[in-house]
C-alpha cells in the first residue's frame, strides 16, 4: 500500500532543512520565570541546607570553635556505640505503634459517627477538631494535671473503683504510653477530617444498591466503605508514620523532658539535646541523616507493598 509520501506528497523536510525550533521559547521562558522564586527557595532552603548538613555530619563542631573533620566517626558512634540513641530509637518505634494505629482507628470511628446529616452535627465536628487547634503547650498543661498522681482526674477515677493511685508520667512503664495518649487525642481531629472527606466522596448510590441487595451494615462497610477509603487510609498512614518516626518533640519536651530516666527519650528529643543543649552539631546532623534514611526506607516500603491494594475505582 502506497503511503502519502510515496504518492508524491513530499514532506517539507525533503525540500528545505527544518529550522530547529529554539529550545528556549517564550512559553518556556515564562514558565521558568514563574517557577524561579520557588526554585530559588528550594535550592537555598532545601538543597543547599541538606548538602550542608551532610557535610557537617562528618565534622565535630560546636559552632564556636573550629570544626574537625571526622569522616564517618559520627555515624559509627551513633549506630554502634551510643546506647541513648538505641533507647531513643526503640522508644520512637513504641510511640509510633502506640499512636498511629489507635489514632487511625479512632479517627475512622469518629468520622463515621459524625458523617450524618443531623442538625447541628457541624458543632460536634468542630468540637472534635478543636484539639488540633489548641496549642500543644496548653494541651500538655491539661494532661499533666489529668495525670497528676495526687490530684489528677485519672487517679480520682481509679480511686472510685478502689484502685491505687499511679504516677503516670513519673513511672518508666507508663510515661511513654501517657504521652502517646495525649498525641492520639491531639491528632484525632486531623484523622477524623481526612476520613470524613474520604467517606463523603463515596457515592451514595453504592450504599443504596447494596441495601437493595440486602447487605447489612457490616457488609456495606467491608465491601464498600473500607475498599473505597483505602486512598485516604494510605495517605493518613504514610503521613502519620513520618510524623511519629520523628518522635513527637513538643509533647516529650513539655511533658517529661525525656524522663523518667530515658524512658521517653525519642529521636527528635535526643537530636535536639545533642544539637541545642550540648552543641554537638556534627553529631546531630549525622543523627538527622540516619533518621531521614530510615523514614525514607519505611515510606518507600509502604508505597512498594501497600499502594497496589489501594482502590481508586469508584465506578
Amino acid at each position: 500500500m502506497a503511503t502519502a509520501a510515496t504518492e508524491g506528497v513530499i514532506a517539507p523536510s525533503a525540500t528545505r532543512p527544518a529550522r530547529a525550533r529554539p529550545w528556549l521559547t517564550r512559553e518556556r521562558m515564562a514558565g521558568f520565570l514563574f517557577v524561579t522564586p520557588s526554585l530559588i527557595q528550594f535550592l537555598i532552603f532545601t538543597v543547599y541546607l541538606m548538602v550542608s548538613s551532610l557535610v557537617i555530619s562528618t565534622w565535630s563542631w560546636d559552632l564556636l570553635t573550629p570544626h574537625r573533620q571526622r569522616g564517618f566517626y559520627n555515624y559509627t558512634t551513633l549506630l554502634l556505640h551510643d546506647p541513648i540513641f538505641r533507647t531513643a530509637f526503640k522508644n520512637t518505634l513504641e510511640l509510633t505503634l502506640l499512636t498511629v494505629a489507635p489514632g487511625m482507628i479512632l479517627g475512622l470511628l469518629l468520622a463515621m459517627v459524625v458523617n450524618t446529616r443531623l442538625r447541628g452535627i457541624s458543632i460536634f465536628r468542630a468540637a472534635y477538631f478543636l484539639p488540633v487547634v489548641v496549642p500543644t503547650v496548653a494541651t500538655a498543661i491539661i494532661f499533666r494535671w489529668l495525670y497528676n498522681p495526687d490530684f489528677g482526674v485519672l487517679n480520682w477515677f481509679l480511686g472510685l473503683f478502689g484502685l491505687q493511685h499511679h504516677d503516670w508520667l513519673g513511672s518508666p512503664s507508663t510515661a511513654l504510653a501517657s504521652i502517646a495518649a495525649m498525641s492520639v487525642w491531639q491528632s484525632l481531629g486531623w484523622n477524623m477530617t481526612y476520613f470524613l472527606v474520604g467517606l463523603q466522596s463515596i457515592p451514595e448510590q453504592l450504599y443504596e444498591a447494596a441495601r437493595i441487595d440486602g447487605a447489612g451494615a457490616w457488609m456495606r462497610f467491608r465491601s464498600i466503605t473500607w475498599p473505597l477509603l483505602t486512598p485516604m487510609t494510605f495517605f493518613v498512614l504514610v503521613t502519620s508514620m513520618i510524623g511519629s518516626l520523628q518522635g513527637g518533640f513538643d509533647s516529650v519536651y513539655l511533658m517529661t523532658q525525656g524522663g523518667p530516666g530515658y524512658s521517653t527519650y525519642t529521636n527528635s528529643f535526643y537530636l535536639y539535646s545533642q544539637a541545642f543543649r550540648y552543641f554537638h552539631y556534627g553529631y546531630a546532623a549525622a543523627y538527622a541523616w540516619v533518621l531521614f534514611v530510615v523514614i525514607g526506607i519505611v515510606t518507600f516500603l509502604q508505597f512498594r507493598f501497600l499502594s497496589k491494594r489501594i482502590n481508586y475505582d469508584f465506578g
Binding site: L63, L64, D82, Y278
Partner: protein, 444 residues
C-alpha cells in the same frame, strides 16, 4: 647548603632586632603586653547586653542602670536585649556563634568552664591590670569563683547560696523551736516529723526537699562526698558518703515528712512552700526570698542549711556579667560592666537585689542590713553565716550533658523505685566516659 645556612643566619640578627622593635612599639602603644589597647579617653558606640526574660525586677534594674550610665556617658547607647530564659545560655552561645554577639551577656557558675573552654568570653584580667581596677571590695569567694584557668571570666553585683526557708507560723502553731545556725540534719528531721500532720490534700508537710543538683550536691558535700572529685575528672556518686547523703534525702520522701518529687513536680517545691502547707523548704537561694516578698498569709524566715556529719555545705551561686570575646565595642562594654558592679550601680538595685551584694562594703552596710524586709525575714545574716561553708560549682566544660546523664538515672531514685545504693554506681558507669576528654558521644 652551607651558603644557604649562612644566608639564613645573616638574616637572623636584623629579624630579631625588627621583631624586638615592633614588640617594644606595640607594648608602648598598648601600655601592656596583653594585646589590649590603651585605655581610651572617652568611650562611645552601642553596647548590647542580653538579659534573661524571667525576672522583671532584674530587667527593670538593667534598664535603670543603662539609662543612668548613658547620662554620664553621652556617646554610648546601651541596649538591653531580653532573651527568653529557657535555655538562655544556649541562645547566647548561638548568637555568638552566629556572628552577632551581645557585647555583655549574663551567665554563671556551672557555665564558666564551658565559657572558658570555648573561649567566647573576654578575659578581664588585662583590663583590671591596665585600669588598676580594685577588686579588694569584692568578696574573695566571688573573684575566686569567677576565675577559671587563670582567667577572670566576668564580674557580678551579687552572690547567692543555698539556705533553708521556714514557715514561722507553722512552727509557732506546733510549738516547735525554729531552726538555728547550729542545727544538724537530725534536728531538721526531728522538727519535720513534729510539724507533719493531716492527710490528703490538707496534709501539712514538715519539709520539702527540692531534688535538683545544687540541693543534692550540698547534701553530698555535707556527708563528705563530692560529685566530681579530682577537678571534675572523676565520678564521686558511688562513694559511701554519697550513697549515705542520697539515703538521707530519700528517707524524707519515704517517711512522708516531705512530699515526693512526683507530688511537687507540677507546681514546684517553692510554690508548695508558698501555699503554706510546708514547714521548711530546702532547695533555693535568696531568689526565693524575692519571690516571697508579697506573702501575707504566713510569716517566713531564713536559716542556714542544717549541717551533715562533716558540717554544713551550701552551693555557691554566682551569676555574672561577661564580655563577649568577639564584641565590637569592648571598651564601652567594660565601662558599662564596671558601672553595673560599682558601688553606685549596686546601690541603685539594692531594693530588688536577689542575692547578697558582691561588695563587702554594701553587703555590710546599714542600708542593706536594716531594710525592714531583711529584718523581718532575717534575709541576710543566714547567707553571710553560710559564706565560709559555700562550695563553688563543679567546673565541667560539658556540665549540661553530664548532669543530664546523672538526672536521667536519678529519676528512679526520686520515684522511690530503686535505692541510691543500686543507682549511684550505675551513674558512675554512665558518666565516666563523659568526664574524659572526647569521651562523650557527639563531643570530642
Amino acid at each position: 647548603m652551607k651558603a644557604r645556612l649562612g644566608q639564613r643566619a645573616r638574616w637572623r640578627l636584623p629579624a630579631a632586632v625588627i621583631t624586638a622593635a615592633v614588640a617594644v612599639t606595640l607594648v608602648g602603644c598598648t601600655g601592656s603586653s596583653t594585646g589590649i589597647t590603651k585605655k581610651p579617653a572617652k568611650v562611645s558606640g552601642t553596647v548590647v547586653m542580653t538579659e534573661p526574660g524571667d525576672n522583671p525586677g532584674d530587667i527593670a534594674l538593667r534598664h535603670q542602670l543603662a539609662a543612668a550610665f548613658m547620662r554620664s556617658h553621652p556617646g554610648v547607647n546601651v541596649k538591653i536585649l531580653v532573651v527568653p530564659a529557657t535555655n538562655y545560655d544556649q541562645k547566647v552561645q548561638t548568637m555568638i556563634a552566629g556572628g552577632r554577639p551581645p557585647d555583655i551577656f549574663g551567665s554563671g557558675d556551672v557555665q564558666i568552664a564551658n565559657i572558658v573552654a570555648k573561649n567566647f568570653a573576654l578575659d578581664l584580667t588585662p583590663y583590671v591590670k591596665r585600669d588598676h581596677y580594685s577588686l579588694s571590695d569584692f568578696y574573695p569567694q566571688v573573684i575566686d569563683g569567677l576565675t577559671y584557668d587563670k582567667k577572670l571570666v566576668g564580674l557580678t553585683d551579687n552572690w547567692d547560696t543555698q539556705v533553708m526557708y521556714y514557715n514561722d507560723t507553722i512552727f509557732k502553731k506546733a510549738g516547735v523551736a525554729p531552726p538555728t545556725a547550729a542545727w544538724t540534719w537530725q534536728d531538721f528531721v526531728a522538727a519535720a516529723k513534729k510539724l507533719t500532720s493531716g492527710s490528703g490534700t490538707s496534709k501539712t508537710y514538715g519539709g520539702v526537699f527540692e531534688n535538683w543538683f545544687a540541693a543534692y550536691f550540698d547534701q553530698m558535700w555535707a556527708w563528705g562526698g563530692d560529685p566530681y572529685p579530682d577537678k571534675g575528672t572523676k565520678c564521686g556518686y558511688d562513694s559511701k558518703q554519697s550513697v549515705a547523703a542520697f539515703n538521707s534525702i530519700v528517707s524524707l520522701y519515704k517517711s512522708g515528712v516531705s512530699p515526693t518529687p512526683s507530688q511537687f513536680s507540677d507546681q514546684g517545691a517553692e510554690q508548695l512552700f508558698l501555699s503554706g502547707r510546708v514547714g521548711m523548704y530546702i532547695g533555693a537561694g535568696r531568689w526565693a526570698a524575692y519571690d516571697m516578698r508579697d506573702v501575707k498569709r504566713f510569716d517566713w524566715k531564713v536559716a542556714p542549711l542544717p549541717a551533715g556529719p562533716i558540717g554544713r555545705a551550701n552551693f555557691f551561686h554566682l551569676s555574672m556579667f561577661a564580655i563577649a570575646r568577639t564584641s565590637k565595642n569592648t571598651e564601652a562594654a567594660w565601662e558599662f560592666l564596671k558601672y553595673m558592679v560599682s558601688s553606685t550601680g549596686i546601690k541603685q538595685g539594692l531594693a530588688a537585689v536577689q542575692g547578697i551584694p558582691s561588695r563587702k562594703s554594701i553587703a555590710n552596710s546599714a542600708a542593706f542590713k536594716n531594710d525592714p524586709f531583711v529584718v523581718r525575714h532575717d534575709a541576710v545574716a543566714p547567707f553571710l553565716a553560710s559564706l565560709p561553708t559555700a562550695h563553688r560549682a563543679p567546673y565541667l566544660p560539658n556540665f549540661t550533658q553530664v548532669q543530664d546523664g546523672v538526672d536521667a538515672q536519678l529519676d528512679t531514685v526520686w520515684s522511690l523505685k530503686r535505692s541510691p545504693a543500686e543507682v549511684l554506681p550505675i551513674i558512675c558507669q554512665k558518666i565516666d566516659p563523659l568526664l574524659t576528654a572526647g569521651g562523650a558521644p557527639g563531643g570530642g
